[in-house]
């Protein structure tokens, strides 16, 4: 059943006859999957709290040209090598640190073997229609390889920006692939911004080798009219560390899905994040942790702040396969509601088939505490400032988990910036 919306999103997709054979095959399968599935409805379990009708009503058009991209002010102080994807096209690539190889994914006719072998193999298209659409339709993106044993100190900052056009919604499908070879270490920071109305349907695939470490941090600060639909899919090998953090503040409707397969022993997976929403924003976080092998640990803490009529969704699933003995899994979603009309749907889920595991999960919903507000005010701090301080402290608990300090500081600044604009001094019913 191919619906109109799926077809519309696939418009302008490179025809599967273009490009190298391996890519044509990957694309053809993906398009088949996309057309068969159609866009998810609320009866699809994975999307039951997120209504896509507004997105389905769009008649998306291809983006026009490219634009200069500026970092958000909060990330201004971060020393990093920048890559720019404007409207899905690679428009700037700084000299990358030693040990990093980059390939543009715009018509990767002569893509090296490591790209051909991995692209489209980590993010599943069968069960995930938007990923299928991205795979069928991506017109550009970047693939990065961190060479075996390389320690890359300077973070790579990928700025993904989309510019809407007057009177229509633009759709882009940026694609990212990162292969961290055995023993290598690197940090990738993704920042998504834009202006006007558009659909940013992004897919990031990651392969993290044995004894490798990847820090992967994402700020979603799209325009208030944007739809942000993103899939991150990671495959981790023995003794690797994957430190993932995502902060979502933008978009009219945003869905951030992160799936990781811990396909080795002694993997440390850290998946933390926050979502800050106000006005009529809808923010959906979906995470899936596949404990496939023994002796791995996963730690997940999400903190959400919902003001005005914002709607948050958190669906977190941990799967512990029969073989995955000694799994240590922790998952927690905490949401702070700042208004009576704000809403959160939390669905934590454990599916355990091994008997010797330590797993816990939970979800909490709370409000700002009156006695804490009073305590701050009794010391002379204004009510607005007191609220902002308490909310910032709340989110900080998740931000604290970012392992790299300069990056942690940047995210803290991004959260502070949001507080400044939407909590402190802003009218109670402030928009996006």
């Amino acid at each position: 059943m191919s619906d109109k919306a799926t077809l519309a999103l696939l418009t302008g997709a490179p025809s599967s006859g273009d490009g190298p054979q391996w890519l044509a095959t990957v694309r053809r399968t993906a398009v088949e999957h996309a057309e068969r599935a159609g866009l998810p409805g609320v009866r699809t379990e994975a999307w039951k709290f997120t209504n896509l009708n507004a997105l389905k009503a769009l008649e998306p058009v291809a983006p026009r040209g490219t634009a200069e991209i500026a970092r958000p002010a909060s990330f201004g102080g971060l020393d990093a090598a920048e890559l720019h994807l404007s409207n899905g096209t690679l428009t700037r690539a700084d000299a990358l640190p030693h040990g990093v190889e980059m390939v543009s994914l715009a018509g990767p006719d002569d893509a090296p073997g490591w790209v051909a072998e991995t692209l489209g193999r980590i993010a599943d298209t069968d069960q995930h229609p938007f990923t299928a659409i991205n795979t069928g339709a991506f017109a550009g993106g970047v693939a990065l390889r961190i060479a075996r044993g390389a320690t890359v100190e300077r973070p790579i900052l990928l700025l993904v920006d989309t510019q809407g056009v007057e009177g229509a919604a633009v759709a882009t499908h940026p694609r990212v692939l990162v292969v961290v070879e055995d023993g290598a270490m690197a940090d990738l920071v993704e920042v998504h911004t834009g202006s006007g109305a558009y659909v940013n349907n992004a897919v990031t695939e990651l392969v993290i080798g044995k004894d490798a470490r990847l820090g992967h941090y994402k700020l979603q600060a799209e325009s208030g009219e944007a739809f942000h639909i993103a899939m991150t899919a990671a495959l981790c090998a023995d003794s690797s560390t994957y430190d993932n953090f995502a902060l979502s503040t933008g978009g009219r409707l945003a869905r951030n899905e992160i799936r990781a397969t811990l396909d080795g022993r002694h993997i440390e997976y850290r998946i933390n994040g926050g979502y800050l929403a106000c006005g009529d924003q809808h923010m959906d976080t979906a995470t899936f942790i596949d404990h496939a092998k023994p002796d791995c640990a996963s730690h997940e803490l999400y903190k959400g702040v919902l003001a005005d009529r914002a709607h948050g969704v958190f669906q977190g699933k941990i799967l512990v396969r029969p073989d995955a003995q000694k799994t240590d899994g922790y998952q927690m979603n905490r949401a702070l509601l700042l208004s009576r009309e704000a809403e959160i749907n939390s669905k934590p889920e454990l599916e355990i088939y091994a008997d010797d595991v330590k797993c816990s999960h939970g979800a909490t919903v709370g409000e700002l505490e009156d006695d804490q507000l009073f305590y701050l005010m009794a010391r002379g701090i204004s009510k607005e400032r007191a609220r902002a301080m308490l909310v910032a402290a709340y989110v900080d608990e998740a931000i604290d988990h970012i392992q790299r300090e300069p990056i942690r500081d940047a995210f803290r600044a991004a959260a502070a910036d949001w507080m400044q604009r939407h909590i402190a001094g802003a009218p109670a019913e402030g928009g996006v």
Partner: protein
């Protein structure tokens, strides 16, 4: 005119009258103590003075230096010089002691049209004051009151008072939870803050605190009213006889 003037103060919580006509005036430089049985309204008075929401003043007035406190929000009162050392200090997860103090000081400076305080100078000043009160650097780095022992929380309240240098301080059972040595240290800290321009209202159940912080005047509060006012001898008398006289008198 006295620094603090409370006249015929009536206040209620959820429609239940708690304070039933309090008259109290404290001259600049004076320390007054309030004693009284559990549930008599001592903490209620302290919250009404500090401007906590939920306490409705139905009659009467409170003036600090001639300014009408009842017209002000809690933060404005604090900026105007009111300080409440709480009976049960609140935990602030994620807000470090230093950040809390800096925000509080800067709020005052902002209200006075001054620039934010110099970070290095401030750190030094706070550390010096913390040291005299037995508040460690480690405590200042931790989230405010989180995981602090009862006594540590009380020291922390007095540290805030020392840093903020208010005009009028209410100390609500600051002695509870303090060990004998800490009581001495904290009392010395409070005494060091006694000055000609600053007044204090010390709420306590025990004569012992008043040996360290000697009050000029003692009041007995029972059933939401001041039942008796006297000198230091009143505390000794209460120590001997308890509150039986006042509880019965008003009942």
């Amino acid at each position: 005119m006295a620094l603090l003037e409370i006249e015929n103060l009536h206040a209620e919580i959820d429609g239940k009258p708690i304070l039933k006509g309090i008259d109290l005036s404290i001259e600049a430089g004076q320390v007054h103590a309030i004693m009284g049985p559990n549930g008599s309204g001592k903490s209620t008075l302290s919250y009404v003075l500090a401007g906590r929401d939920g306490y409705e003043v139905t009659e009467g007035s409170i003036r600090l230096d001639g300014q009408d406190l009842l017209e002000m929000e809690a933060d404005e009162r604090a900026v105007a010089g009111v300080f409440l050392a709480m009976q049960y200090p609140v935990e602030l997860p994620g807000v470090t002691g230093m950040t809390f103090l800096r925000e509080a000081v800067n709020a005052r400076r902002k209200a006075a049209g001054e620039d934010e305080i110099d970070a290095m100078g401030f750190l030094k000043m706070v550390r010096a004051k913390a040291k005299t009160l037995g508040v460690t650097d480690e405590m200042l780095k931790r989230a405010v009151n989180v995981g602090f022992s009862g006594g540590e929380k009380k020291r922390n309240e007095i540290l805030q008072m020392a840093v903020l240098e208010p005009k009028f301080c209410v100390l609500d059972e600051t002695d509870s939870g303090l060990d004998i040595d800490a009581l001495k240290v904290v009392s010395e800290g409070v005494n060091a803050l006694r000055s000609a321009g600053r007044s204090m209202l010390v709420i306590t159940h025990y004569q012992r605190l008043l040996n360290h912080i000697e009050p000029d005047v003692i009041h007995v509060l029972a059933h939401g009213r001041i039942q008796k006012t006297g000198g230091k001898e009143l505390a000794l008398e209460l120590e001997q006889n308890g509150y039986a006289d006042y509880v019965e008198a008003a009942a």
